[in-house]
Amino acid sequence: MLRACAVRTISLLSMRGEVIVPHRASCWQTREGRSRRRAVCPEPGMEASSPAGLAATDPQLQHFIEVETQKQRFQQLVHQMTELCWEKCMDKPGPKLDSRAETCFVNCVERFIDTSQFILNRLEQTQKSKSAFSESLSD
């Protein structure tokens, strides 16, 4: 049950409009001896075999950064949900997590997603009917 819940949580990430943009790693300085203290950026024909080959054009590094960023955002989401649902579902902590609290946590996450979706639709509806809404709220 919790696993299905996790899948929905991941869909919440995309629903929140969090676009993961590959981060362009800036060219790093090499510090091999004072004479070579300069920014080294790989030129188009340059091989990535040198130590300074870890630069903006390394797709592996970019992919790694993407993955790490996504992991961080997921963890952030989990922390936020834990905080919210703890308030709603936990009365008094017992010796173990009983099934009622566990069910409540699962419901909590799913209802959160449903609520977000509902509010999104509602806002869209209201925006279409009242055009003055977006003007006043954009201040």
Binding site: K88, N107, C108, T115, F118, R122, L123, S138, D139
Partner: protein, 85 residues
């Protein structure tokens, strides 16, 4: 193909895209704002589905929040007008 003396169409296209993205981000931020407010007010204990009472409460929450914002904005505008410069 920029016309001589006229605006570069590529730049204005980019500006349009940026404005659209900004608007989208603003809208998403608004939704989060509403979520924070209305979750506390309307959801006591999460059930197995979103029941009609909670849905009604959420709809009211959104609309009343907008009404409140508008009325406060109007009130401030009135005060500023009466106060003068």
């Amino acid at each position: 193909m920029a016309e001589p003396g006229g605006p570069d169409p590529a730049v204005s296209e980019l500006q349009r895209l940026v404005a659209a993205e900004q608007q989208r981000a603003q809208f998403t931020a608004q939704v989060h704002n509403f979520m924070d407010v209305c979750w506390d007010k309307c959801v006591d204990k999460p059930g197995s589905k979103l029941d009609s009472r909670t849905e009604g409460c959420l709809a009211s929450c959104v609309e009343r929040f907008i009404d409140t914002t508008l009325s406060i904005t109007n009130r401030f505008a009135q005060i500023v007008q009466k106060g003068g410069h």
